[in-house]
Amino acid sequence: MTVAQEKNPPVKLPNEPAITPQIVAEHGLAPDEYQRLLKIMGRDPTMVELGIFSAMWSEHCSYKSSKVWLKKLPTKAPWVIQGPGENAGVIDIGDGQAAIFKMESHNHPSYIEPYQGAATGVGGILRDVFTMGARPVANLNALRFGDPKNARTRHLVSGVVAGIAGYGNCMGIPTVGGETNFHPAYNGNILVNAMTVGVASTDKIFYAAAAGVGNPMVYVGSKTGRDGIHGATMSSTEFNEDSESKRPTVQVGDPFVEKLLLEACLELMATDAIIAIQDMGAAGLTSSSFEMAAKGGLGLVMELDKVPMRETGMNPYELMLSESQERMLMVLKPGREEEARKIFEKWELDFAVIGHLTDTERMVLTWHGDVVGNIPIPPLVTEAPMYERPWKLTPLPAELDAAKVPAPADWKASLLTLMSSPDLASKAWIWHQYDHLIMGNTAIRPQGGDAALVRVPGASKEAGHKGAGHKGLAMTSDCTPRYVQAHPETGGRQAVAEAWRNITAVGARPLAVTDNMNFGNPQKPEIMGQFAGAIMGMAEACTALDFPVVSGNVSLYNETEGRPILPTPTIGAVGVIDDIATSAGSRLVKDGLALVLVGDTKGWLGQSIYLRELHGREEGAPPPVDLAVERRNGDFVRGQIVGRKVAACHDLSDGGLLVALAEMCLSGSMGATIKLPQGAIAPHAYLYGEDQGRYLIAADDGGALVEAAQKAGVPAVLLGYSGGSDITVEGLLSVPLQELRDAHEAWLPSYMNSAA
């Protein structure tokens, strides 16, 4: 490659079509965006160049509609090592260790091809984390499906769950938590949000920025095939009746190869041969090579004919845009290629030097010696379209007067109905398909507590852990889409607060979050207003709770034929506990424990599950979140837990107090009897209201707990005791635990087993 050659315009390949307005439109570029391209290039692009612009400027890769808003989120704290902008966020968890984590959506592919879509979603997020030098220690996922009565829902649940299981189980990473909701708004656009948490040494974290002119660019992993071409563009448009025909844009995963890639990468990372590394995710070789060069302020030459190919006859366009899975791009120190090659060959993976870094700040692509693409790198990034789209905030709905919501006609039936409703029914059918125990570190399993709790490997006393016992990472994923729909600011605040509360409820210190923003078409001011409102609420909550956002992902255009999803800003959160022995789960396993309700109960029924499931109404303002109260109550509860005053703890969320109590009883196989306090509000508002900032605690000494709460200025009231084999609310209802269990556990398996 000579300097002269680098300046030459590229040659056209045989049969290469002329660029027409139609071809530009098919690449998802708006006419003004194409004009921008022409200005940068100073000439007509070749097909491969057009494809690269199309992918890099897609909503998925460029965040062009969301960037101005994402900047409003707080991203810094003393424990944040790396905030948004890298493959994943990195936080300091003490003892020279870092937690590396991120959540990412794979919504569009999962709707088109549920098994592969969900599987490759897991594969992608795992790569984001191990690219940075971490060994993944846990996976979580947040799933939203359509109405169970919708003809397609059962097929989607079955395929998505099997896909997540198929990938995560084979990788040997425990899937320890998550959430699953159903709502008709997701009928045409399901959400599959996958999160991975990994652990690395703080002095062994790998980044994407390339460095060192002349250094080799190395391709490792699977061969490149024709799958997933234009996946990023497909994910940046609405669905219509033709979406089925987009099936070939869905990638196909192979977790076995990814497992080999994980081990090979970690083996090479233990040496000091790697300068920079980036996984090939959305827009494959295009975005990975661009990001590495752009972050390093360098240029590169890539000889595309050296890319390992799965099939014959592939061309540069396909190679640059393929989203074949299980691939990585890295920059090695010069002279270390053979050492690296040996490791990848041992793991039976492809290894190819496909180019080198230059100081031209240009991406030059060659094909058997001819230049076929030549793009200046900085303007593609700095002059990328960025939109301040018009937005219209959702007004706060009127507060619903609880007095106007009828009490249940039959109290016992009301609890059975709620506990067997799709959103509250047991999800054991799902999580039993996930290996949640592999690695032997799972301390709190699904349904065992508000957050999953996993021992941090390598944090033994001998390794310098200052705590007395096993250090643990607590993790959760949360969002209440119906609250966000009703009022995005409140919903955004609530999603962050609930995640914080769930980490707190196991006794861990909440540290940071990853956000997965799932919304409809941002070109509609109402949708953009939902996005803006949710961000405002989240930013406020993250700031008030010292809970910065360190990574995230945006998925827009979740609409089918004009019908948007419920706005769903899923929050994935991570916290740390010094000694797992001081944590608390939510299972009620002992009788005679005092049951203490912590937090203020006003009986908020607007947007409650009770209102929706018992009265068929989705109305009113969502429950307000007072962040100062949230923090005060949470800090008190955490202190009681790590001070070992708490036998079990559960936050109050969907379904309120009585549902929380029922869940504690069912998971621990222990009954309970409670009595409403004197002068309480209407029983159905007290028992099913969804006021925020509350916890139900089981303790050996209830009096001492209430006293401690009073001292801390935290409302707390003793409601009753555990024991027996029924759940009883004096004067209102008594349900045998077995009857409740049958209803709670039967819904999902019987739904999945019934004929379509």
Binding site: A165, N169, Q433, L437, H470
Partner: protein, 229 residues
């Protein structure tokens, strides 16, 4: 007790069993790569769980043909104890060290859950820390754990006391309720004729610490230490 754990491409519970053995013996087992047919002399060979070779072709079928398994067969014939767990059980049956086969779970799904096992005999180097008839709780995590053998083989297994563990209810009743995968006669683990090879689907290595799944699996490792040290 010196032990070796085989590692195939796609193995993923080798770390779990290494951790369990180290916890009980204080000694880190040797990890042996699948291409390494010539490894140090040891008192116990463990074939761990996972998805060797991605479960392609058939679970365990490709690993059974690897160089290291040729050596394992040779040593097993000389009486060196072999423990196959989950995918390791599938591999040792594919290699012919144990009778029968592991089919797709009857419900066709992967299952990860705690199960109860009835210990059928304490008369083996693997189970000497348990009482015959004792019920222990350990997890399973597999999609192909449905044990099957023809009628003659089943009869021989029963007659010769080669059944090590059966799935059961918490109270020890052996019936369909406790069976997570449809296994014939609720079989969770079997011995070879000399009881020097044990294959089982459940994961005792994930039940060795009180806060991380309980300690009911510990007896298996402690029993081996006692027998082999």
């Amino acid at each position: 007790m010196k032990s070796a754990i085989l590692v195939f491409p796609g193995s993923n519970r080798e770390g779990d069993v290494a951790q369990a053995i180290e916890l009980v013996t204080g000694r880190r087992p040797q990890m042996v790569w699948h291409g390494d047919g010539d490894f140090e002399k040891v008192d116990l060979i463990v074939v761990p769980g996972g998805f060797s070779y991605g479960d392609y072709l058939r679970c365990g079928a490709m690993a059974a043909q690897s160089p290291v398994m040729a050596e394992v067969k040779k040593r097993a014939a000389q009486g060196v104890p072999v423990l196959g767990i989950c995918n390791g059980f599938q591999i040792v049956t594919e290699a012919g060290l144990l009778p029968g086969t592991l089919m797709r779970n009857s419900h066709l799904k992967f299952v990860c859950a705690d199960v109860h096992l009835k210990v059928e005999t304490s008369q083996s180097l693997f189970t000497n820390r348990y009482q015959a008839g004792q019920v222990i709780k350990v997890p399973v995590a597999h999609a192909e754990g449905n044990y099957f053998a023809d009628a003659d083989t089943m009869k021989k297994l029963e007659d010769r006391g080669q059944i090590a563990f059966r799935y059961c209810a918490p109270d020890g009743t052996v019936d369909g309720r406790g069976n997570p995968n449809g296994s014939s006669s609720n079989i969770a683990g079997v011995f070879n004729e000399t009881k020097t090879v044990l294959g089982l689907m459940p994961h005792p290595e994930n039940a060795v610490e009180p806060m991380f799944g309980g300690t009911d699996g510990r007896g298996l490792f402690e029993g081996m230490v006692e027998a082999l040290s």
